[in-house]
Amino acid sequence: MSDKIMACRCEDVTVHEIEEAIARGHRDLESVKRYTGLGTGWCQGKQCARLCAALLVEKGGEPPSSPITPRPPYRPVSLAHLAQLSLQKERGG
């Protein structure tokens, strides 16, 4: 059954895959993320990280001290937009 439940919809990670990662000894959220790829897609974990953290604790893993390291940008931004930034001068050499 758990092989049919999606935990991370962006990267197609199922609850079963997370259970398997935990069974293989990945006991902290950062490792499970890097083993399954959860939280690395479109929403960057905004939808799945909580569920996965809860699952991890339920299965005996380490309670995460923080959600997975949040990666900028907050929302997807186009390269054309980013190319128009002009931060260089402010920073100096």
Binding site: R24, R27, D28, E30, S31, R34, Y35, G37, T40, G41, W42, Q44, E62, T69, R71, P72, P73, P76, V77, S78, L79, A80, H81, L82, A83, L85, S86, L87, Q88, R91, G92, G93
Partner: protein, 385 residues
Amino acid sequence: MTDALGGHAEVIVIGGGIMGLATAFNLAKLGQKNIVVVEKSYLCSGASGRNGGGVRAQWSSETNVRLMKESVALCSEFATQMRINVWFRQGGYLFVARNDARAKDLEKSVELHKAHGLRTRMLDAKQAKEVVPELDASRIVAASYNPDDGVVFPWPFVWGYARACAELGVAIHTLTEVRELLTEGTRVTGVVTSRGTLKAPLVINATGAWSPEIARMVDVTLPNHPHRHEICSTEPLKPFLRPLVADLSNGLYFSQSMRGEIVGGIANDHVPDGLNQESSPLFLQLYAQALTETMPILGSVRVLRQWAGAYDITPDGSPIVGFIDEIEGFYQICGFMGHGFMMAPIMGKLVAEHLLGKSTDPIFEHWNLRRFREGKLVPETMILG
């Protein structure tokens, strides 16, 4: 995780990155018993979990061409031997030159590649556009292309080594930090960790950008230093981009992963030296400007995530490998700049052979720390970032 650590091992590897794990795996495979890997954080937390996964045999120095040719071959066997999908894709590397001087450098490398049996060839702008039709070829005078270079997905690569290590009886302790090295006279005898003291006659420093900190514990000054390198990936796209494209003039590189994302980075001179794994908006600007100039069609593609890791920079661009003359039993495998991931398969193998007295490869002479004292540097110029 928090239980105490103690006792004796034969070999202690400090650092659970790709270098430490590849070394431990190859040692165990050759029959070495009682190996312990000590990692202060989780696996994939260092540069080995943060890199672009580029794997190429196109280099400017004979040594790197020779070693990387073997490493690419090892990468293509990795999935079947380690029973893990590492998403290896041989779409080639396309090095573009924007001026004649750079084109001449590439030509020289291509001659070297041919002598080593690589399929690298020089392309003019039109031919480069045949490989990547979306390139703005008006900005390119020539390119070198090796269709056998490729990219991997770094995470499963690390897990592959970790699992194989465990199967061969290597103990891997994560969330365990080395805080002191133990010595008796001029010989290293073990490590003091956050979880207790572990003794061993051989201690391997495989901590990458952190390696100068470890060496300093026995008053050895390494000449390498950490430097932040940033990278990002976009939303996934249908596969269209065959090679990894690299521009040595500004350090821009980008490729399409097997997951469909465009993954890439760029050199950034504004970054001060030091250990810093935070990402900056300035990087996104520099990368986006260079990328949309090179591939205008990518303007509408959105960046999903950016992150950073530490390059492990040496003064001559070559790594530091081998025993330290002053401290018996203390071995270095560090200083791999921004290309240590691709070198790990071959380096793990050679270092294990070296440690067991089975390799006489000239790198163990040329890449030893003592070269800096003797003034015999080993330059490499095809460095990205």
